[in-house]
């Protein structure tokens, strides 16, 4: 596989503010790559560095082995789908799509042909002669996509392009974006703060926070094997329990769930898997996804008993908030497989169990 983009120790400083700190990673050709993080994490700054709208403070950016960090935006074979589309209001849809080709000096006949192809790709042939303000948000979004794809860029940047659309449309556009990416084979770098978007569309995800790269991996790696508390908490929902590490094995460790306060007692010793560095003592957290916890009626002696604090019916699932016998709260989501009403009510004593292999020990 060929490397499309290679970032080497890229740093960006705005006056005293360190927006990006020593970012290094490669993006493969034809990959759907997502930069994910909360607002202010530096993902948009990184995108702007790739697009050429900002200059790197230090570090190297290579596009197919060519250094591009000093090239202005109009000299980079990279196009962008902007968050608010930024379509040219005085031009028709067709002229908008032709714009990049026109600036490259492509002859008119070729320009028209390629713009027609692009509009067919996004299914907007009928709207070619309209002005952008005569289109709906979703249609404008597609025009922006067609416009950015028309010059056949080596890299396509997408800056939260779906954030302005309503939910239903957003879900449709996810599938369509992914389909178009596979059809064109162009490398996509997608920026979002929406973890669901990132998980459903990406080949790989870079999770960022406070100007640092936190974790890089496939959606399932990011979800199943978070390297730290930030990633575990940011991607999906999770329960983070303070644990005391008693003994370390090669891939698993013996831990007890720490009591929330002195009135309670630590739980029994349990054995859980871990994937990164770990220290003995009360230094780690146990991450358990809410959907991996089973809630059942109280039956005799079990290691984990709890009291239901809140029970919320959510259609596909019922969500419970329970308090463990060690005093800490847990979020549990159980699928409503049958059409029966929710099984547990506030105040019920319940039995909590989870498959230890699905829990993850991470550094606190």
């Amino acid at each position: 596989m060929t490397t499309a983009i290679s970032l080497k120790s890229v740093t960006k400083k705005f006056k005293d503010f360190q927006a990006l700190n020593e970012i290094s990673f490669d993006i493969q050709e034809g990959e759907f790559f997502t930069l994910l993080g909360p607002s202010g994490c530096g993902k948009t700054t990184l995108l702007r560095l790739l697009g050429g709208f900002e200059q790197t403070s230090t570090g190297v950016i290579e596009l197919f082995d060519e250094k591009i960090e000093n090239l202005p935006a109009n000299k980079r074979p990279i196009n962008t789908v902007f968050q608010h589309y930024s379509l040219f209001p005085h031009l028709t849809v067709h002229e908008n799509v032709q714009f990049g080709l026109k600036m490259q000096g492509v002859a008119k006949a070729e320009r028209v042909k390629r713009a027609d192809e692009m509009l067919a790709l996004v299914q907007l042939e009928k709207f070619a002669d309209r002005k952008p303000n005569q289109l709906s948000g979703g249609q404008q979004q597609r025009v922006a996509l067609a416009r950015a794809l028309a010059p056949r860029p080596k890299l396509l940047l997408l800056d939260e392009p779906l954030s302005a659309l309503d939910l239903k449309l957003r879900q449709n556009m996810r599938l369509e974006l992914k389909k178009i990416q596979q059809q064109t084979g162009i490398t996509f770098v997608f920026v979002t703060h929406d973890q669901e978007e990132a998980l459903t569309m990406s080949d790989r995800i870079a999770v960022m926070s406070a100007g640092h790269l936190q974790q890089l991996g496939t959606p399932s790696e990011i979800y199943e094997e978070p390297v730290n508390e930030f990633v575990a908490d940011f991607i999906g929902e999770t329960n983070l329990l303070n644990v005391n590490v008693l003994k370390k094995g090669e891939h698993s460790a013996d831990v007890t769930i720490q009591a929330y306060d002195t009135e309670h007692h630590d739980s029994a010793v349990i054995q859980v898997p871990y994937f990164n560095r770990l220290f003995l003592g009360p230094t780690a957290k146990l991450s358990i996804r809410p959907e991996r916890i089973t809630i059942g009626p109280l039956t005799g002696e079990t290691p984990l008993t709890a009291i239901v604090e809140q029970s919320i019916y959510m259609g596909t699932d019922t969500q419970y908030i329970v308090t463990l016998n060690t005093g800490c709260e847990l979020l549990i989501r159980s699928q409503n497989i049958t059409s029966e009403k929710k099984t547990f009510e506030q105040g019920d004593k319940v039995n909590i169990s989870f498959d230890l292999s699905t829990a993850r020990l991470i550094r606190g």
Binding site: N79, L87, F88, F99
Partner: protein, 298 residues
């Protein structure tokens, strides 16, 4: 015909609200123009004023003059030359205003939002002083012994003063200075509504700075530029003070010509006719422009 008693309450309110402005336009625009229009078809009175006799002499006089001896009408281009000069002067002033006004408006529109009104305020400060005073001040600056020539001579760039005052260029300069804010303000308004991120998008799509300016910025604010050009061109062409003072009375423009007919020559119908001819030319030009603009939009 509008029947006041048959109007619905809403319509009564609507007509009630627009009536003051309609009255203003009626009294101060339509009636004076009608008077001028009527006067242009009458004969001049001996001591000014008009004789109420229908005549086309005023319009004939614009293109022809009567030979003293034979009393034949001969074509004369004297007044057409004045018209031509006025159009040229106004065009130069408009171009100067655009060249200086557009960057100025761009500068103001790209300042932080809270300082923009301050910059606009600064633009208007010189205009608190009467136009006459400002024009005379300009004459003092550009005359042979004025500070501009003195400064250039001090720098040894020139040996003898450049003749600036009482030239056609001085008139252009005066017109430019008189009407600059009328160019800056509409362009600023258009620019402040322009989404600057479109320039980033153009830049992303391989447009150089110049190409982005030509293909995105200027077409997007063309309405502002159009309005600015009209607001400078039209008052320039009928301007009276700048050509009189800075041109030294040698660079006669339409405004001076009209004034002359009402004051010195006491030929009111001819003055009125010139005013009507100017009005007609401008209206036709505007009509052509707006029709072409409409055509472009469809």
């Amino acid at each position: 015909m509008l029947n006041i008693f048959k109007l619905s309450k809403e319509e009564k309110v609507r007509y009630g609200l627009i009536s003051p402005s309609m009255l203003m336009i009626g009294f101060f625009l339509l009636i004076p123009i009608s008077i001028v229009f009527v006067y242009s078809f009458l004969q001049p009175g001996t001591y000014g004023g008009v004789e109420w006799v229908f005549s086309l002499d005023a319009y004939k006089q614009f293109l022809f003059q009567e030979d003293f001896l034979t009393e034949e009408l001969q074509f004369t281009s004297a007044y057409l030359e004045i018209f031509g000069r006025s159009f040229l002067q106004a065009a130069i002033a408009t171009l100067l205003c655009f060249m200086i006004g557009f960057p100025t408006a761009y500068f103001i529109a790209t300042r932080p939002a809270n300082t923009q009104s301050l910059w606009l305020f600064a633009i208007t400060i010189p205009y608190w002083v009467n136009l006459l005073v400002r024009t005379i001040a300009m004459l003092f600056i550009i005359r042979d012994q004025g500070p501009l020539n003195e400064f250039l001579m001090y720098l040894d760039w020139i040996d003898t003063p450049i003749k600036l005052a009482y030239t056609p260029f001085a008139v252009s300069l005066g017109l430019f200075y008189s009407f600059l804010p009328f160019m800056v303000l509409p362009i600023y308004t258009a620019l402040s509504r322009f989404d600057m991120s479109l320039l980033t998008a153009a830049h992303d799509l391989y447009a150089s700075r110049w190409a982005a300016l030509k293909n995105v910025l200027i077409p997007s604010v063309s309405n502002g530029i159009y309005a600015g050009c009209l607001l400078v061109f039209i008052p320039s062409i009928g301007s009276f003070i700048a050509p009189d003072l800075l041109g030294g009375g040698k660079q006669l423009m339409i405004g001076n010509l009209i004034a002359l007919q009402f004051q010195g020559s006491r030929n009111w119908p001819f003055g009125a006719a010139i005013a009507i001819i100017l009005l007609t030319i401008i209206l036709i030009t505007l009509l052509i422009f707006s029709l072409r603009k409409k055509g472009e939009q469809q």
